[in-house]
């Protein structure tokens, strides 16, 4: 399409261009034609004819003159057209060479050895390597840390099989290691979307035309959005004050966790914890202190739990700790440790021993499976017993 358009445009141009050839060239060519014709006719008339015995009438003489003129004018016209065509070609070539410089993408031409044949302005700007420095060099010489087997194979496929190749940012991130002037988030190198297309000259040699799209900004944007989404998700799952999970998360976590426990025959335990006389703390010291106590209490719980366990703020001053791979004995040990830590820690701004808690423990065993609701209800019942029996203690079933 592009080629045929150029050809048509081009034919029109040289037709009209013939008449736009500078006058001095046309005059010069005219003078040359007539001088040559005059010299040849003189030669014929004064030198060659006297040597022969042929007599030429004026009529024949004028025909010879006309033929001679036509013979000489034709190449002259041809020469003028050729001149015009050559100028157009030169202009077109210059135009196309400049075209790559006007594009907002990187364009480079390389051969199979990775030797650079063209390097556009965009690349000059982004890499700081001038076209002069780049042309004739190998890509591996220009970028010491160049390491893209995919680009190598794409160039080979492109040149050998004349099939353009796409190199996506998703699977490759980049092909030329171009450092960013100002790093974006955690990106230090320009993220690129690249295409490699074959370009064959009239001698049948094929070069690979590589175009590079800088997609760093959109990659940075989408990863920022992803981070934001992750943060929002975590916020919707967590209690803002203590950082513990909320009830909504508890239920979405517990059901699949119990299924896994069934599959792998693993125990799971539940601690239900309540700060003793929390209302009194709130009433005596105010809500700010109450909040600080909740935060400090949750901190102690987090310290005593393992990475696979989760802590949930179940109600006002009530927490649930779910302990994976923990049978009743392990759960009791962890609960006792928590009780001891709470007793012996100064939870700011109160003194050591001012904050106490009660803990109810229930366990899910593979031999006696129960539902998630029953597990929590049992822990709640044990907590009630602990409260009833004087608080500041751990209570568990059999």
């Amino acid at each position: 399409m592009l080629n045929s358009l150029n050809a048509r445009e081009y034919t029109q141009r040289w037709k009209s261009g013939l008449f736009r050839t500078p006058l001095r060239i046309v005059v010069a060519v005219g003078i040359v034609v007539f001088t040559v014709e005059f010299l040849l006719m003189t030669l014929l008339h004064d030198v060659i004819l006297p040597l022969t015995s042929i007599t030429v009438t004026d009529r024949i003489w004028s025909i010879v003159d006309a033929v001679m003129l036509v013979v000489l004018v034709s190449p002259a016209l041809y020469f003028l057209v050729f001149l015009r065509m050559q100028r157009d070609f030169a202009e077109l070539t210059r135009l196309f060479a400049n075209l790559t410089d006007t594009l907002m993408i990187g364009v480079l031409l390389v051969d199979t050895d990775l030797r650079v044949h063209r390097w556009n302005q965009w690349l000059e700007r982004k890499t700081g390597i001038s076209s002069q420095q780049a042309c004739g060099k190998l890509l591996t010489e220009l970028f010491a840390d160049f390491n893209s087997p995919r680009l190598l194979s794409a160039i080979e496929l492109c040149i050998k099989h004349k099939s353009p190749q796409l190199i996506s940012q998703t699977l490759n991130r980049y092909v030329l290691p171009i450092p960013l002037v100002s790093p974006m988030h955690d990106l230090k190198l320009m993220q690129q979307q690249v295409s490699v297309s074959p370009l064959t000259n009239s001698r049948g040699e094929t070069l690979a035309a590589i175009s590079i799209n800088d997609v760093t900004e959109s990659v940075a944007k989408s990863s920022a959005l992803a981070r934001l989404a992750a943060k929002m998700e975590s916020q919707s799952n967590r209690d803002q004050l203590t950082g513990a999970y909320n009830r909504h998360f508890l239920w979405s976590w517990l059901a699949p966790q119990l299924r896994q426990s069934v599959r792998h025959s693993q125990a799971l335990s539940c601690l239900m914890l309540d700060i003793d006389h929390f209302k009194r703390i709130n009433d005596t010291y105010g809500h700010d202190v109450g909040d600080a106590v909740l935060r400090g209490f949750a901190e102690i719980l987090h310290e005593q739990m393992r990475d696979s366990d989760i802590l949930v703020r179940y109600g006002g001053e009530e927490f649930v700790a779910l302990l994976t791979h923990a049978d009743a004995a392990v759960a009791l040990e962890i609960a006792s440790r928590i009780l001891e830590r709470v007793r012996t820690t100064a939870i700011a701004p109160l003194d050591v021993g001012d904050v106490r808690c009660s803990i109810g423990v229930s366990s899910w065993m593979p031999e006696v499976p129960c539902s998630a609701e029953e597990l929590l209800k049992e822990a709640d019942r044990r907590l009630y017993h602990a409260k009833h029996n004087g608080r500041d203690q751990v209570a568990m079933g059999q």
């Binding site: 194979s153 496929l157 099989h161 959005l225």
Partner: protein, 207 residues
């Protein structure tokens, strides 16, 4: 056109060689062991392509296509059931997909599938071009998603008025412990297919 078992077997063998090359490329790109085989090759008239592909006409298909020109003209298409291709990309790109939102995901899938399809089609077409003994110029790849009739309607608009035949290669791709059945369809003129099989005949006789 009449094709005997021997012709089809020979083409299948060549296709297997071509696609194992693609599998090597993909393994390198995706850092995973990938195998590709061609269990079956068929040649059918254009009108019977939809039927011969043995795909559910209601299911969504992901297709990567590249048209080719030169002495032979036509289109090469690689199709996977959409669900399979999605799962494949998710498994391959992994965490970066999980991080991304729903909308991003589609962009990532398209981009990744286009590159994977590009590599596979190039390998498949190199086999055909070698057999034809001709140079074919390929276009940049495009991506489409839709039901099979939709996709074929779209592509036939581009190849309208030509007497076409289709070489269908059933492909079997094994990656990240998944197996995906794909189809590579090469639509080209009856003449080109004739040239291809004439050369195949000669090659077989030569052996």
């Amino acid at each position: 056109m009449e094709l005997d078992e021997l012709d089809r077997d020979a083409l299948r063998e060549l296709a297997n060689v071509g696609l194992s090359r693609a599998a090597t490329q993909l393994s390198e790109l995706l850092n995973d062991h990938i195998e590709m085989t061609v269990p079956l090759v068929q040649v059918v008239p254009y009108g019977q392509v939809t039927q011969a592909l043995q795909l559910d006409s209601h299911a969504t298909v992901a297709a990567v296509w590249q048209s080719f020109s030169g002495q032979s003209e036509g289109t090469s298409m690689l199709m996977f059931p959409s669900e399979d291709s999605k799962r494949l990309v998710h498994a391959l790109v992994g965490p970066s997909v999980q991080e991304a939102g729903e909308d991003d995901l589609r962009g990532i899938e398209h981009e990744a599938m286009m590159e994977i399809g590009n590599i596979i089609i190039t390998s498949g077409m190199s086999v055909i071009a070698d057999m034809l003994g001709q140079e074919v110029q390929m276009s940049l790849p495009g991506y489409m998603e839709g039901t099979l009739p939709d996709i074929m309607a779209q592509r036939s608009r581009d190849n309208a008025g030509l007497d076409m035949q289709a070489i269908i290669m059933f492909t079997h791709l094994k990656a990240v412990q998944r197996e995906i059945e794909g189809r590579m369809v090469m639509l080209m003129s009856v003449d080109s297919v004739q040239v291809l099989f004439d050369r195949l005949h000669k090659l077989l006789r030569g052996l």
